[in-house]
């Protein structure tokens, strides 16, 4: 269930207060909100705009520019599979195809039971341990069929 509007506003203000003293506080605030809610709620944007004395359009423009910020809740787990060149050289195409099949979803999708969101990512700095992925912030290298099946089972729990 999503929190009600006023509750979002007050939790947003709490996050803003934590970072507003920084030079260039907007990205830290947005990261903080994503941590707090799991995504950046639409209701938060005018609260930020007011606090930073910038326009709603400006906040919206920033949120939509960056790949990291979600506009909607993600699944309970987030699996990011690297699709950049070093991983390509070690079969990341096949890895992506296999994990999509195992989870029954494509990139940028969430399973119906809300257990997992699947996303492509472009390099995790694990290029000498390719193909690589990140599950809820945990890094995984040298993905093979066994590891993919393990991941698929784990996120379904």
């Amino acid at each position: 269930m999503q929190p009600a509007g006023t509750e979002i506003a007050s939790r947003t203000s709490a996050v803003i207060n934590e970072f507003v003293g920084l030079e260039g506080p907007l990205l830290p605030i947005l990261h903080g909100l994503q941590e707090e809610f799991g995504f950046v709620p639409d209701e938060s944007l005018p609260v930020i705009a007011k606090a930073l004395n910038i326009s709603n359009a400006e906040v919206h423009g920033v949120v939509t520019f960056y790949h990291d910020y979600r506009r909607h809740p993600a699944g309970r787990h987030v699996l990011k599979v690297c699709q950049a060149e070093a991983c390509q050289s070690m079969g990341s195409d096949a890895v992506a195809a296999r994990i999509k099949q195992l989870l029954g979803i494509g990139f940028h999708e969430t399973t119906k039971d809300g257990s997992v969101t699947l996303e492509p990512i472009y390099c995790l700095g694990l290029c000498a341990c390719a193909p690589a992925a990140m599950l809820d912030g945990e890094v995984i290298g040298r993905l093979d069929d066994d590891k993919l099946e393990e991941i698929a089972a784990e996120v379904r729990l």
């Binding site: 060149e85 995790l124 341990c129 890094v139």
Partner: protein
């Protein structure tokens, strides 16, 4: 005497199970009642051997790898704590050829010390550069860096000392040192290894830059894909502050310098320096037109030194050992050492720091040992997603900024991605265009629209639709992108595309004729 066992906490080692190995070692130590402690070091950079466990013996450090959690009991049975022999034994760490052949200056401590122990850092030569800097005149520090020949390791290869001098000369109430830790290039991980394995060297380098240019505030902008680097850097800055390395009196001197860690938000283009500044200021990561130069009007409109992690992390040893010591390594106008990152489909992938001048072939075949799959090497991409694909016939190219430029390529951040003969270069060219389309900041039409047209046109070639005409169109498009783009994202995407077309023309022939010709 207590034994020290090293288990890396580097992301690469963690991705291969180092955490489980550390836990297993911990329980064996407890179960067997051994007097031993575990140090979580950085990675030595031999990723095919990670997790690589080391033990301090009377004879020096001895290594085992790659270790899995279920190898740990047998390692202890074999006498791991005294360096006993085991099927995973690698002998003395320093003697492993991949390490023994390197010249580790910037990476001198990575994998050796406890990344978060400032005492370890000091006992391995840390802070000597900063100690000299606090006693020196700013202009002399800048001169040392200039004389060392150090060029920016982030990609463009601009002389670091010249950049610093512009900031030193600029008059302003506030100046910044901005460390570019966005490391978005596929095939690169040197910045990550420094931040996770020796964070104080970056802090020291930034503090020296601050003192040299009169900047009192530093930021490290780290990509969000690097949570471990962010965590380690954050803790290291706290420790440095507590111990007086950072703060109002750096090492007890009248110089003030402090650092803040910031996280990116998943935009490749934010590695471009002006886009990064916009991002840090809380704006869309759109590239700014130059002039004004960041050195004159950079972050928040103030004079700013922006440097790559490796550029800054190379400064402490230059200050400590002198400009000549560093400059004596290398070739031509590429001075000093470069941390080469060998990645992708390669047998011995990892970090290899060496003086400039090794040939591409030596790096890929001798040091890297050829492909991981055992198939022939078809192509290597050097310098990230904007770098050219090199065929075997160019493997005599020496690792040097000018030599690579002469072959229509770039050294970039020195990542090398190896592909075996199953690679389809049309697909790689298509990806280069697709990546540009995904990551474009949107400011210039050739980059924003051209890249999408590029993908469509390459798809037509793949489908056998008027291949010659469409190939000419892609070439034309690449020219437009090259000359009509504000930054290297649109401007250099033609490198991987055109190198694929020029060096691997067979991959662009329609499938039907290619089959018929076989």
């Amino acid at each position: 005497m207590s034994v020290t066992i090293y288990v890396p906490c580097d992301s690469g080692a963690l991705a291969l199970g180092a955490e489980k190995v550390a836990k297993a070692i911990e329980s064996e130590i407890a179960a067997r009642g051994i007097d031993a402690r575990i140090v979580r070091n950085g990675s030595r950079g031999l990723y095919w051997l990670e997790p690589m466990v080391e033990v301090e013996t009377a004879d020096g450090r001895v290594a085992y790898g790659p270790v899995a959690a279920n190898d740990v009991a047998s390692l202890f049975d074999a006498g791991l704590v005294s360096g006993g022999s085991h099927r995973l034994s690698l002998g003395k760490t320093e003697d492993i050829p991949f390490l023994a052949k390197q010249t580790r200056l910037t990476f001198a401590r990575v994998g050796i010390t406890d990344p978060l122990s400032l005492d370890d850092y000091k006992s391995h030569g840390g802070l000597r550069g900063l100690e000299k800097a606090v006693a020196a005149a700013p202009a002399d520090i800048v001169k040392t860096v200039t004389d060392s020949g150090l060029r920016g390791r982030g990609g463009a290869g601009f002389p670091t000392g010249i950049k610093w001098n512009t900031v030193l000369q600029a008059v302003a109430d506030r100046k910044y040192i901005l460390c570019n830790a966005d490391e978005g290039d596929s095939g690169t991980f040197a910045d990550r290894m420094i931040m996770e394995g020796d964070p104080f060297v970056l802090i020291e380098g930034m503090a020296i830059a601050g003192i040299a240019t009169g900047a009192t505030k530093g930021f490290v902008y780290i990509r969000s894909e690097y949570p471990h680097a962010i965590a380690t850097m954050t803790r290291a800055v706290e420790i440095a502050r507590k111990r007086g390395v950072l703060g109002v009196n750096v090492l007890g001197s009248p110089n003030a310098f402090d650092i803040e860690i910031r996280s990116g938000a998943g935009a490749y283009v934010c590695g471009e320096e002006t886009s990064l500044m916009n991002s840090l200021e809380g704006k869309r990561g759109v590239v700014r037109a130059k002039p004004p130069l960041p050195a004159i009007q950079g972050l928040f409109g103030k004079p700013t030194v922006i440097n790559n992690v490796i550029s800054l992390a190379s400064v402490p040893i230059i200050m400590d050992r002198g400009a000549e010591f560093y400059r004596d390594f290398g070739m031509g106008r590429s001075r000093g050492t470069i941390p080469i990152q060998i990645a992708g489909n390669v047998k011995h992938g990892g970090l290899f720091e060496a003086a400039f001048g090794l040939s591409l072939g030596e790096i890929v075949d001798d040091i890297g040992g050829g492909t991981a799959t055992g198939r022939p090497v078809k192509a290597v991409q050097v310098g990230g997603p904007l770098g050219a694909y090199f065929p075997r016939k160019l493997f005599d190219t020496p690792f040097d900024y000018e030599a690579f430029a002469a072959k229509d390529g770039l050294v970039g951040h020195a990542g090398i991605v190896v592909f075996d003969d199953t690679a389809d270069m049309l697909k790689q060219a298509r990806f280069a265009m697709e990546f540009c389309a995904i990551e474009s900041c949107g400011k210039c039409t050739p980059c924003r629209i051209g890249s999408t047209r590029g993908v469509e046109t390459i798809d037509k070639i793949a489908a056998g639709i008027e291949p010659e005409k469409n190939l000419a169109l892609v070439t034309d498009l690449c020219n437009t992108m090259k000359f009509g783009s504000l930054c290297a994202l649109g401007g250099f995407t033609p490198y991987p595309v055109m190198s694929s077309i020029n060096h691997f023309p067979d991959d662009f022939k329609p499938a039907a004729t290619a089959v018929a010709a076989e």
